[in-house]
């Protein structure tokens, strides 16, 4: 008896045809690459919208006193900047990358639920139109900070209901995206690709998707209770009615802390793809990376109260949350060690994606260290609600998450567009970004240590000099990102001058590098023959 075998997947949503023409291609598309592109472009647009808000903040803080905006509008800017950057820029960018890359990395022709994929993207523009429209309402936008702590958040204007509904829509979009990613990764992997042969980016996204599904109902429930407290007379968080505003902080941070890891785990995956390529070595300690990612995800559920040490909690609680938070440094340390060990004695070259990846490792680690400082209860009593916290989370989210997204954009841009970006411009972008981002955020550590509170439009003159440097860094960093915009637009719409090879980077491994460049509209209609040499992390243990 002889056996011949070919494989295909269960997606018959696309046949052998190219994209539709015109606007309908983008509105009705179920193609994972189109939807990935939509997510990435949306995220880029939101990055500049949120960035513009940051510049309003930094312009006001350039000098002590009130110069540019009213205090209430300043508060609206701090709130909206955070909401736009978290839910509009960073998260959609990672979902966009997942859309583009996960099916190609696992050898699937598309996402498992392509129509739902279309909905999960198209909800987002409506959600953000609603959110941003509040800035033009009579009562102005939300001004209580992105954490929406009651009772302050309940004292805003009537735009509050729009904000809550927008957050519901964002959550719905995230949940649908997460379900799709879980279904795709678990059910549509190419034959012979078992879980421990998946690329690390796929692993980190699988764990991120689980986190999203577990915490999104908590956020939705929390903001719904705010809504009912405001409009329907309930007293979940109203002390006058027997509620407890501090419970909102608990429930919010039970969502909020895993959310931080939702924004950083995919970044770990991206860096774990890029460093081996440019070090020309397999990723060191692949299996430990997977376990470290899972450990971080688990620990993220039991550390939420480190955001609220100053609310007054029992000593046992403070100790538990302090030590649990410190334990996160262990799996994170494993990751940093593995990245460094991957580079050790590698044949390294420093193309732009690698520069951003190395920048990520160094600067994210600085953000991690300041996080450890904040984990220490007595120290946190001093640092809480100061610019030290602002510096910490911007090191984690800008030089961490955003740098990794930029690294990913440079790394996969040739595969997406068929055009190689200008390496010279890419390096200019990196070095200017590194210098200016440190000028922007590093002085904020000193401001915080000196006692400058966050979320204030005016400040004591003793903080003037560091704020001035920070604002100069902010504007320079913002302008530097125009280079990135130019590079992306040129690669996307510029004339193709050369045919790039399938494997654009010499050291790249993984199934996405086995398809043509630029990636065809439909890939892997037949499941690929997954071989040991395609294992992205080089670990061929079966």
């Amino acid at each position: 008896m002889s056996t011949a075998e070919t494989t295909h997947h269960d997606q018959d949503d696309h046949h052998d045809h190219g994209p539709a023409k015109g606007l309908s291609r983008w509105v009705f598309t179920t193609n994972h690459k189109d939807i990935g592109t939509l997510y990435l472009l949306f995220s880029l647009a939101m990055f500049f919208v949120g960035g513009a808000m940051a510049l309003v903040i930094r312009a006001e803080l350039f000098q002590p006193g009130l110069q540019v905006v009213e205090p209430d509008f300043f508060n609206q800017m701090t709130t909206m900047h955070a909401l736009v950057m978290i839910f509009g820029a960073v998260m959609p960018a990672f979902v966009g990358l997942a859309n583009w890359l996960v099916p190609m990395m696992v050898g699937a022709p598309d996402m498992a639920l392509p129509r739902m994929n279309n909905w999960s993207f198209w909800i987002l523009p409506f959600a953000f139109a609603m959110l941003l429209s509040t800035l033009f309402m009579e009562s102005g936008g939300p001004a209580a900070g992105w954490t929406l702590y009651p009772p302050l958040s309940l004292q805003g204007g009537d735009s509050f209901a729009f904000v809550i509904f927008a957050i519901h829509l964002m959550g719905l979009s995230s949940i649908m995206g997460a379900i799709n990613i879980v279904a795709t990764i678990l059910n549509m992997r190419a034959p012979k690709m078992n879980l421990l042969r998946m690329p690390l980016f796929v692993w980190t996204w699988l764990i991120t998707a689980f986190l999203l599904i577990m915490v999104m109902p908590v956020l939705a429930g929390a903001v719904t209770m705010l809504l009912t407290d405001r409009y329907f007379g309930t007293s979940f968080f109203n002390a006058a009615g027997g509620g407890d505003p501090v419970m909102f902080q608990h429930i919010f941070w039970f969502f909020g802390h895993p959310e931080v890891y939702i924004m950083i785990l995919p970044a770990f995956g991206i860096v774990s793809e890029i460093i081996p390529t440019f070090a020309r070595k397999p990723l060191f300690g692949y299996v430990s990376m997977v376990y470290a990612t899972a450990s971080i995800a688990f620990l993220s559920f039991i550390v939420w109260a480190h955001h609220m040490f100053t609310t007054g909690m029992p000593l046992g609680g403070e100790l538990f949350f302090m030590y649990a938070t410190m334990v996160i440094a262990v799996p994170t340390g494993v990751k940093v060690f593995n990245w460094v060990a991957t580079m050790w004695k590698g044949s390294m070259t420093f193309e732009t994606p690698m520069l951003f990846a190395v920048g990520f490792v160094i600067l994210f680690t600085i953000g991690g260290f300041s996080g450890l400082m904040l984990a220490i209860v007595p120290a946190d009593f001093q640092y809480h609600d100061t610019y030290f916290v602002v510096a910490h989370f911007h090191y984690v989210l800008v030089t961490g998450a955003v740098f990794s997204i930029m690294a990913a954009a440079y790394y996969w841009l040739p595969k997406w567009t068929g055009n190689m970006y200008s390496e010279t411009l890419g390096k200019w972008h990196f070095w200017l970004s590194v210098v200016t981002v440190n000028l922007l955020f590093f002085p904020q550590h000193f401001l915080g240590l000196a006692g400058m509170p966050r979320r204030i439009p005016d400040y004591s003159v003793q903080f003037a000099e560091f704020n001035m440097w920070s604002s100069i860094g902010g504007f320079a960093f913002g302008l530097t990102q125009l280079i990135f915009l130019y590079i992306v637009l040129k690669a996307s719409f510029g004339k193709r001058t050369e045919q790039l090879p399938d494997r654009v980077w010499e050291g790249a491994k993984g199934l996405e590098w086995t398809v043509a460049t630029p990636a065809p509209y439909h890939t892997f209609d037949e499941a690929p023959d997954f071989r040991d040499e395609d294992v992205a992390h080089g670990d061929v243990a079966h």
Binding site: S2, A4, D16, F210, P217, G221, F236, D525, E526
Partner: protein, 158 residues
Amino acid sequence: MVEVQSSETETCRIQVRPNRSLSRRGLCLTVGLVSSGALLASGFFALQGLWVPLPLAGAELLAFTACMIYVLRRSDQFELIDVGPDRVAVTAGGSGSSTVTDFQRYWLRVELKPGRYASDPRRLTLSSHGREVEVGRFLNENERTTLFGELRRLVRNR
């Protein structure tokens, strides 16, 4: 996935099924893991009086489970084409049920017909005596063409 098991003396069997990397056990584990995490979290807050996340988590988990089951059932389908000396049997099924259609091999027509619209994929059909069965709906155009050639060869030669 098209799997051809042939021999000069035995009945030849062609198995057509979608690729699938998730088992039923894997599905149960996944749903169990996600549900326990989400329900534990929202249940904890419900015990503190903040009950609103609990029904939302329930609704989300229902949607998650339904999507996973839908995906699994879609990839649970199969077609078995048994080409014997005299008869050709097509067994089509999935999710525990199946239907069998028998054809007399000598009168069997294997055809690759155009789709209803120009953009539709072609249809591979087996027909005789007024009965028609479409096979290989899961396949892409290249695989369908290959299966068509293989079926014609087997039906003619055996």
